[in-house]
């Protein structure tokens, strides 16, 4: 029994770390720019397909495809930043609609380019098991757990210790004051989109090596990322990791003790609970009543 629980917790934590990578980009852009990029899941998926193309056409080990993925996804997010910046009125609503349209284009684009077949890594090395006592995992899962923790740590350090990161947070909390301090909000926005793109590139490679991808995955990734953002609360990066881990562990415990058919439902119920009971999230600042 303890073996079952231990494995469930372990799997949940590993899965959660991958979820955190997926959610971070969305949380960052939303937390700082108040823009929800509805195409975020599709960007992660795009990175995954780049990893696939590199592996199948060029024979590259998936990790080596990350630079290419970063370039492609950052180009995509820069384009997104540019068109979102062109919106003149009703910014909140229209940026939602615009990114939604971009998401639709990316999903159908993926369908056109890569067809509907499922894809995943063929690398034997990444699929080998890693055994720690009674705990089992795939190499790719452990690898991206480490990557995830490192990236989150780096991001937190960047946000709190570097000038650029602090400029980002300043613009998020008070745009006008930040401008008075000499910060250009447009540039800060671009930076946040680029960082989100970087994170999405890692996340995409992670899902490609750990699981299976297909064009329809985009929207479910966005929903998952959004749920974690709600769990975490606005403006909290460590909160994203905690929320993601919580989600991952909830899912695997549900599978182990109840039925695996209820896994997705468990995550959703968790989301609803937080929404009803503590809408500012587990770690977020209190949102004023509307």
């Amino acid at each position: 029994m303890t073996d079952l629980v231990a494995q469930a917790l372990y799997s949940g934590v590993l899965t959660g770390s991958a979820y955190a990578l997926i959610a971070l980009g969305l949380a960052l852009v939303f937390g700082t720019m108040r823009i929800i990029n509805l195409a975020h899941g599709e960007l992660v998926l795009l990175a995954a397909y780049i990893a696939y193309t590199c592996e199948s056409q060029l024979g590259l080990f998936p990790l080596l495809s990350i630079p290419a993925a970063i370039v492609v996804v950052c180009v995509a997010t820069t384009l997104t930043w540019y068109v979102v910046g062109r919106i003149e009125r009703d910014h909140e609503l229209n940026s939602l609609l615009l990114t939604y349209g971009i998401g639709v284009m990316l999903t159908n684009g993926a369908l056109l380019v890569w067809r509907a077949d499922i894809r995943s890594t063929k690398s034997a090395w990444l699929q080998e098991p890693v055994v720690l006592g009674p705990l089992y995992a795939m190499r790719s899962e452990v690898l991206f757990f480490v990557v995830s923790v490192v990236l989150i740590g780096a991001l937190w350090w960047w946000l709190t210790r570097t000038w650029a990161g602090r400029a980002l947070r300043a613009t998020a909390s008070n745009r006008d004051a930040a401008m008075l301090m000499g910060i250009d909000p447009r540039r800060v926005q671009l930076v946040s989109f680029l960082v989100a793109g970087l994170l999405a590139a890692f996340a995409g490679t992670a899902i490609y090596t750990i699981g299976v991808i297909q064009p329809s995955l985009g929207i479910s990734l966005t929903v998952k990322a959004f749920i974690i953002t709600v769990l975490a609360g606005m403006g909290s990066v460590p909160g994203v990791l905690a929320g993601a881990l919580l989600l991952g562990v909830t899912e695997s415990l549900t599978t182990t003790f109840a039925s695996s058919a209820l896994q997705e439902l468990a995550g959703m119920v968790l989301f609803l609970l937080v929404l009803f009971v503590r809408p500012s999230g587990l770690f977020g600042r209190r949102i004023g009543a509307v």
Binding site: I87, E264, P279, V290
Partner: protein, 316 residues
């Protein structure tokens, strides 16, 4: 005002009489028109929520699916007549919106996505609650529309008339609400929520009312669709397309107007199925995504109003 109502009446009568005459024989085109009108109705409900409630939703598929299942189950398991089923579909969808009330506290984008998450949740519930909903396999052989006053409404023309009636009714309701005292308050709230609260308007109550109305309308259309297609399954009833197409349609047709969304739906859906699909059999929805993006950037008030303004017309 008189002249406009009269010409509107003429148009509506023409739609009832002439379309079946012109297209009745071609089942395929009639299917397209019925589907377009269904989308148009949802687009209208979506726009209503946006304009009068100030809320954008990315999950209207939730209401559509709940309405579909509610009507199918009540008619098949409890023996209700279909007309009652349609109403019940709307009511259940409105009731399901109660679950979304906590989300009203959230800022705009939060709410939009929260509704999307709800659509997922309802889909999962429909899949798991096998005894009630038939699970992943869905419900088949849902009863068709009955014979009323000697006319068999189970055919394409019957369905067309029913959905046209529903949409026309919704247009009238939207118009009445918009021009009523509440509508004035709602539109003021849309412009400045702070100001309205100062004057004493309970903005949350009004928003909730609009959410229920929008959900009700969408639920009725979902119920209609269930009896029209005679088949339901979770992936179909809660499909993202029931969210996406109405949004594109409403934006295209001009979501600030009342009839804009419906007209937008007719144009967008028909062009997508009859033209885009022929040109690009796979992935043709990419054009819709691009269209949405382009409209937001260049014609946020809608493309139809922009086009019509060129010719010197304005519409309701």
């Amino acid at each position: 005002m008189r002249g406009r109502s009269l010409s509107a009446l003429v148009v509506v009568l023409a739609l009832y009489a002439l379309v079946p005459v012109a297209l009745g024989g071609n089942l395929y085109l009639m299917s397209m028109v019925v589907a377009a009108l269904t989308i148009g109705g949802i687009a209208l409900a979506w726009a209503l929520l946006g304009n009068l409630g100030g809320l954008v939703s990315f999950g209207h598929a939730a209401f559509f699916g709940v309405g579909s299942y509610a009507s199918a189950i009540l008619v098949m398991k409890a023996g209700w007549p279909i007309a009652a089923g349609l109403l019940a579909g709307g009511v259940f969808a409105a009731v399901s919106a109660i679950l979304m009330l906590p989300a009203l506290r959230l800022r705009g984008p939060y709410f939009a996505l929260a509704v999307l998450a709800y659509a997922h949740i309802f889909r999962i519930i429909a899949t798991e609650w096998k005894s009630l909903t038939g699970g992943a396999g869905g419900i088949a052989n849902i009863p068709r529309f009955p014979v009323v006053l000697g006319y068999d409404f189970s055919g394409k023309t019957g369905a067309y008339w029913i959905v046209l009636t529903i949409v026309v009714l919704f247009v009238l309701v939207y118009d009445r609400v918009r021009n009523s005292d509440y509508g004035l308050a709602l539109r003021a709230m849309h412009d400045s929520e702070e100001a309205t609260r100062v004057v004493g308007v309970n903005s949350t109550l009004l928003k909730a009312a609009m959410l229920f109305l929008s959900a009700f309308m969408t639920g009725v259309l979902g119920a209609f669709n269930a009896h029209y297609i005679n088949f339901l399954e979770p992936d179909y009833a809660f499909s993202g397309l029931w969210t996406m197409l109405p949004i594109v349609a409403a934006i295209f047709g001009g979501y600030r107007t009342i009839t804009g969304p419906v007209l937008g739906a007719l144009v967008v859906y028909l062009v997508d199925q009859l033209v885009f699909k022929e040109l690009m059999p796979i992935g043709h929805q990419i054009i819709l995504g691009a269209l949405l993006g382009a409209m937001i950037l260049f014609a946020p008030a809608g493309m139809l109003p922009a086009l019509l303004r060129r010719r010197g017309w304005r519409h309701a």
